[in-house]
Subunit: 410 residues, 2 copies
Amino acid sequence: MKKNCIVAQSGGPTVAINASLAGVIKEAIQSDCYETVYGSIHGIQGVFKREFLDLSKSSDRFIEQLKYTPAMYLGSCRYKLPDTEEDITAYETLFAIFEEMNIGAFFYIGGNDSMDTVAKLSKYAQSIGSPIRVVGIPKTIDNDLVGVDHTPGFGSAAKYIASSMREMAYDTYIYDLNSVLIVEIMGRDAGWLTAASALARNSFSKAPHLIYLPEVAFDKDNFIKDIQALMPTTKNIIIAVSEGIRDKNGNYISATTAAADKFGHAQLSGTGKCLELLVKERLGVKVRSVEINVLQRCAAHMASMADIDEAFLLGSLAVEKASEGHTAIMTGLVRTSNTPYTYELITLPVSEVANQAKEVPRHWINDSGNDVTSDMIDYIKPLLEGEVPTNYVDGVVDYLDVSHLIPDSN
Amino acid sequence: MKKNCIVAQSGGPTVAINASLAGVIKEAIQSDCYETVYGSIHGIQGVFKREFLDLSKSSDRFIEQLKYTPAMYLGSCRYKLPDTEEDITAYETLFAIFEEMNIGAFFYIGGNDSMDTVAKLSKYAQSIGSPIRVVGIPKTIDNDLVGVDHTPGFGSAAKYIASSMREMAYDTYIYDLNSVLIVEIMGRDAGWLTAASALARNSFSKAPHLIYLPEVAFDKDNFIKDIQALMPTTKNIIIAVSEGIRDKNGNYISATTAAADKFGHAQLSGTGKCLELLVKERLGVKVRSVEINVLQRCAAHMASMADIDEAFLLGSLAVEKASEGHTAIMTGLVRTSNTPYTYELITLPVSEVANQAKEVPRHWINDSGNDVTSDMIDYIKPLLEGEVPTNYVDGVVDYLDVSHLIPDSN
C-alpha cells in the first residue's frame, strides 16, 4: 500500500514559500509516489491538532495560482520542538499520528529554526527505526541559511527592496534642498536584504549613497561623518540601514528596547527612527526615515520569477529525494556560474544547516563599512530577474482564497 | 509670432503628475499653438532662476515613458507666493521674465497650495492687463480638492493602499494567535486615502476590520472597545488609521510633536506607533504597526491606468483651454455615472479651489465612526481600474532619466 505524506510551512512568510509548496504538491501528484498529500495547517502544530487539508486533488490551475500567492497558504507557527532528552512526549505523539495516518514523508518548508525541527524529527525517526523520511525545503527572505548559494524568498524581497528604493529615490530628488532619507530594511543578523538596496543604483542615480549592514559594528560618529562628507556634493542623501545594526559592544542601534522572542531573537524596530533623530540633532538637515516593514516579505506582485522558479524546483526535489529514500536532508542550490547565471540543485544534511546563520562576508562590504562591493552586486543581480504574472480584480491584486486560515471569513 | 508656454509641477509627488505633464506636452506639440514648451525646474522657483528644459521636441516614446514615471520629472517646490499687497516684487520679476521669454501661458500642476499660486498669478496678470493665461491642473494623492469628483494621483495611491493592505492581510493571517495590525495611511486632513483601504476586502477577508478617518473625532477608549468587541470572533484584527486622526479637542493622536511646515500644515508621524503602544498597554495582545509612508505616493509600478489616463487628459485640456483664451481656471472632471463609470471634463474658476480642502462627507462614514459606507466603496472602486505597463531592467523597475534633478548624477 502506498504511503501518504505531509507538507507544512513554518517561520516568517516570504512570497516564494507557496511556490515551494506548489512544487511539493505537483511532484507528489505527478510522481504518484504518495497516496494522499496532506497539508498541515500552522506548521507542525497542525499535526498535533490533526488539522489537515487534502492537497492530492489540486488542479494545475490551483498549483499555478499558489506559486504567486504571498505568505503561507498552510499558515505558519513558531513552535520549537523540545530536545528529546528534555521531553520525548511531543515526539511520541507526532509519530503515533504519523503511523496512524500511514505517513511516509514529512516535508517542512522553512528557515533555520524550521530546519531544527527537521533535524530533530529525522533524528528521532532514525532512533526508533521509523521509515518516515523528513526533508527540509529552505525559505527565508533573510538569505541566512548556510550550505546553499541563497534561499528562496530572498530574491523576491531583494527585488522589492531595490525597486522600492529606486521609487523612493525619485520621490526624494524632486526638491531643491538638502535632505537625508534613511530606509530601514529587515535582516536581524545578516545584511543580505539591506545589501540588495544597492541594486537600485543606475547610470544617473547613486542612491542609496550609504549602506550599513549588521556585519560591521555601527558607529554613530562615523555615520554622521559619512553624511557630512557627502553633503557638499550630494543634494539628497539616501541611506539604507539594516534593522539589525549594532554598536561595537553588540547593542542594537534602536529607539526601542529589544525584547526576545521564543527563539531568543531580538524583536527590533525603530533603527531608522533612531538615526533620523540623530541626524536631525547633529546636522539639522531635513531628514525622514522609512521602515519598509512587512511589505518586503509579502508584496507578491513584485516577486522575482527566478526566485519563484527556484522555490518550486526545491519543493519538487524534496519529494523526489524522499521517495528515493533520503531523509534528514534539506534541498538547496549552488551557483555554478554568474554570467550566465546557472546553478545545480543539491541536498545537504539538515544538521549542517539548522540553527546557524550565514552572514555577509566582510570582503563583500567596503573597507569603510558604509557600502557593499561589486562582488555583492554581481551575486544578487541574477536573483531579481523576471517578473511574475499578477492577477487584479477590480484593480486590486488578487490571490488564492485562504479562508481556511481566517476563522471570521464567513 | 507664436507665443511660448511654461509648464511646472509643485507640491508633493504622486505617480500621476507626470502623466499630466505628458498631456500638456503632447497637446502643446499637436495643437501647435505654442512655439516652445518650457519645463520650469522646481516649480515656479525655476522661473525665478531661469532653469528650464525645452520640452518642445519630446518624442512620442518620451511622452509615453513620462506617463509611467513616478514623482515629478520637473522637480517640485513648496514656494508660496506672497500676497500682492504684501510684496509685489516677486510678481514683477516673474512677469518680466514671462515677457522676455514671450510666454503666452503658464501651466501649474499641483494641489490646493499650487492652485493658490495659479489664482494669484492670474489675478496679477489681469490687474496689469497681461494676456498671459494661467491654468492649473490638479494633482494630489489626498483627493482633497473641492469642485472636482476626485484628483489625479488619488486613484493610484488608493490602488497601492488597497493592494498593500491585502498583501499585509495575507501576511497577518498565517499565525494561529490573536494579533492586531495597525496600518497608518497618509492624509493630513482628509480620510480619502485611508478609506481606500476598504477596497482590500473580498469574499473571505474582512480586513481592514476597522477604519478611522480624521473627519471623526478619535476616542482612545472607543478604539479599544472596538477592538475588544471584535476579539472573540476575529483572530487577526487589521486596522487602517489616517495619520491625521485627532481627538475631540483637535489634538493629533501621534507619538511625536506636530511641527508646522511653511503652509501651516502639521507634520505628522507616529500615529500608528502611538496606537500600537496603546493596544499593547491596554490589551496585552500581539500588535504591530506599519506606516505605509512615501511608497503610497511613488510606487508607479502599481499605478491605476484609469488615474494615469485622466491625469493625461486634464493636462491636455489645460493647453486646449489656454489656447482658447481661458485663464484663472483649473481643469477637472465630474462623474456622470458610477456603473458604468463615466465622467465629463470641466474647468472651474481656480479661486473656487485654492486653499480649500474637501473632507470625506460624514454620511460616507458609518455611525460608529470606525468604518466607511458602501457609497464610499462604490465611489473609489472605478478609480483603481487598470494596470500600467512597467519596464524592468535587470529585474528592477526602470523609469525616465531624471539626472537634471540630481546634481551628483555624474
